[in-house]
């Protein structure tokens, strides 16, 4: 792995794999957004995606997050081809395998922290007791054990994003997708959230971070530069390696 083209060896431990993916939007005339893009994310890896706006990084994130399907090519999550799934099937895959962290937190305003964190499990039909236990445990891990019954409006931006991180982890996802997770935060709080993502990664989770800030991207093990709908270059940063899957943080 590393050159963006999946090899037989890499595929074995790949949790996400995109092969020759095209995405074309029909806006009066066809607008190609992704152009023969291939990318593999290994289990336990921490990858940052950078690219100017319009480069296709949002579309790439939507495809990996199963929010969208490619026009051509294959997207595999955990070895399963998700390319041709129906909308509801994709929703189920999202609920089981994806953890989203958004720039604007996207917590539900009428639910408490605990309920927000537990919500993905509601859609998966997990029993109430188990949902609460698991959500409470994660809120403790992100340091919000005393904010469980607060609504989002009663929390600071950093606290909200920590709730969102806890929510992203509640379903023990195959991959955590963080889309500009520090984009709405000041630099100090940003640092705290990036530290939190480091811990999430160190515990064995696969993390994909989309950002346009170099300093943020440098937290990852490698940076994938996207330009004009395809992988322009992959920058290995070395350093931290993942822990074994046995002591996953979640």
């Amino acid at each position: 792995m590393g050159d963006g083209t999946p090899s037989e060896d890499a595929r074995a431990e790949a949790v996400v794999s995109l092969t020759g993916v095209y995405k074309v939007y029909e806006l009066g005339q066809p607008v190609p957004v992704l152009d023969d893009l291939s990318l593999t994310l290994a289990e336990g890896s921490y990858t940052a995606i950078m690219g100017p706006s319009g480069s296709g990084k949002s579309t790439l994130l939507n495809l990996i997050g199963c929010l969208d399907a490619p026009t051509a090519g294959i997207v595999e999550i955990d070895g399963r081809d998700v390319t041709t799934l129906s909308e509801d099937e994709r929703a189920t895959v999202r609920g089981e395998k994806i953890g989203f962290v958004f720039q604007t937190f996207n917590l539900l305003p009428r639910l408490s922290s605990l309920e927000n964190v537990a919500l993905p499990l509601v859609f998966r039909g997990v029993a109430r007791e188990e949902r609460r236990d698991r959500a409470a445990e994660l809120l403790e891990r992100v340091g919000l054990e005393d904010r469980m019954d607060h609504r989002p409006t009663e929390l600071s931006g950093g606290q909200r994003q920590r709730v969102a991180v806890a929510r992203a982890l509640v379903n023990r996802p195959t991959i955590v997708l963080a889309d500009e997770p520090t984009g709405s935060l000041d630099s100090e709080t940003s640092g705290q959230i990036l530290d939190l993502l480091d811990r999430v990664h160190a515990a064995g989770n696969t993390v994909l971070l989309v950002t346009h800030e170099r300093t943020v991207a440098e937290r990852a093990e490698r940076i994938v530069h996207v330009l004009d709908g395809t992988v322009e270059s992959v920058e290995e940063l070395g350093g931290r390696r993942t822990a074994s899957a046995n002591d996953r943080w979640t």
Partner: protein, 420 residues
């Protein structure tokens, strides 16, 4: 998704917009309340009629000649055409199964005087001495009048009508309306109204002051009877009592065929008029039909307000869907399927519908109870209405929530997440 959890979320969305939810449910509240109130009123009225008339004096029939206007009650006093001659009454009395038949007619007076007190505009019922037996009226003091004598019987209400109550032996004077002729009479008896109470009594006129006088000498309305070519008195109504209630229908048939085949009345009556021979039971039926029609009509109007209420709910859920587009996107991103989203919004609509129908039922029952109390009817409540109200609330909720919920469910999560 867990229904309890969905309920909690929907309920929270309703309680977070209390004023909006209250205004939204108002349409349903008014609709359901109106239906329940009018149905309660209608049923109470019917119950009153059934209670007071059914099983009471069922051996009496009312004979009249009516213009055929749909839904009118033929027994109300002084209605119908005066066509029944003395001979007709006599012949009806002799029909097999008839115990007695008495003519009922009347005339208006400009005033009735007792001592130095005069009461204006009274109606004098003219009949024959047998009337009180046929109509189940007890003479509580004195006796019935005799034909050919200047004697009258008054009911208790009429006796109390004058300052210084009327008692047996008193003289009264009445002035015939139109001619102004003054007529004297001795009160020989005080009659009690039949033991019927409630609305029907006033419909039939039993609870009003009444003065009963013998046709001879007080009744002046006459015709040349076609059968005998002699002058005879002619009446608007004949009251018939049968000797066996079980055979009332057969007697009814015989009376009817006499009227249509051999009576004077058949010649005298106007072209468009028809004979009515009605038993108490049929009158009850008629009144019930009228009150049912009335109730159905009002209920129809109320149902319109229910429809308006449903549209209100649909409207507010649509607003709610638009407002929460981003939330829908988030829920979809974290694994909500279409049916989860549908469930949430549909439940919200159903909760609003049920809330409206529950409050509406209580308000409706209270209004109905108040109205019946004011009118003086027995309150009639049937639990089935509330079951129906709940079902209606459910249906209103489903009908109004289905489209908004469906449109929420097909929201594209990517678009929704971009939505501000």
């Amino acid at each position: 998704m867990d229904v309890i959890e969905a309920l909690r979320m929907s309920w929270r969305s309703i309680t977070d917009h209390k004023l909006r939810s209250a205004l939204t449910t108002l349409g349903v509240i008014i609709g359901v309340a109106a239906v329940i109130a009018f149905v309660t009123l209608g049923a109470s009225l019917q119950a009153d009629i059934v209670q007071t008339l059914a099983g009471d004096t069922t051996d009496v029939m009312y004979v009249s000649a009516e213009s055929q206007t749909e839904g009118e009650i033929g027994v109300l006093p002084s209605r119908g055409q005066a066509v029944f001659t003395d001979r007709d009454v006599d012949r009806i009395r002799r029909i097999d199964g008839v115990e007695n038949a008495v003519p009922v007619g009347g005339f208006a007076t400009a005033g009735v005087a007792h001592g130095d007190d005069t009461v204006g505009r009274q109606f004098v019922t003219v009949t024959t001495p047998g009337y009180f037996g046929v109509n189940d009226q007890t003479i509580v003091a004195g006796r019935t009048f005799r034909s050919g004598q200047r004697e009258v019987v008054v009911n208790q209400q009429a006796a109390r009508m004058f300052r210084g109550n009327v008692s047996v032996g008193d003289e009264i004077t009445f002035t015939r309306a139109g001619s102004g002729e003054e007529l004297n009479a001795t009160v020989v008896g005080i009659a009690k109204s039949p033991d019927r109470s409630g609305r029907v009594q006033s419909l039939v006129g039993d609870d009003r002051p009444a003065i009963y006088a013998p046709a001879d000498p007080y009744y002046e309305r006459t015709v040349i009877a076609p059968s005998t070519r002699s002058e005879q008195r002619v009446y608007a109504q004949v009251l018939v009592r049968v000797d066996d209630v079980e055979r009332i229908e057969a007697v009814q048939g015989r009376v009817y065929s006499y009227l249509t085949q051999r009576s004077d009345a058949r010649v005298l009556k106007a072209q468009g008029n028809q004979f009515e021979v009605l038993t108490h039971e049929q009158i009850v039926d008629q009144i019930e039909r009228i009150s049912a029609t009335f109730t159905a009509y009002i209920t129809g109007v109320a149902v319109i307000s229910l429809v308006v209420g449903a549209i209100g709910i649909a409207n507010i859920i649509l607003v709610s869907v638009t407002e929460r587009t981003r939330e829908i996107g988030v829920m979809k991103a974290i694994g909500a399927r279409r049916r989860d989203i549908i469930q949430l919004f549909l439940l919200e609509a159903i909760l609003l519908g049920l809330l409206g129908s529950a409050i509406g039922s209580v308000v409706g029952l209270a209004s109905g109870a108040l109205a019946t109390a004011v009118i003086g009817l027995p309150l009639e409540v049937r639990p089935i209405w509330f079951v129906v109200a709940v079902v209606v609330g459910l249906l209103v909720g489903i009908a109004s929530g289905l489209y908004p919920a469906w449109s929420a469910a097909r929201t594209d999560p990517i678009e929704a997440l971009r939505h501000e």
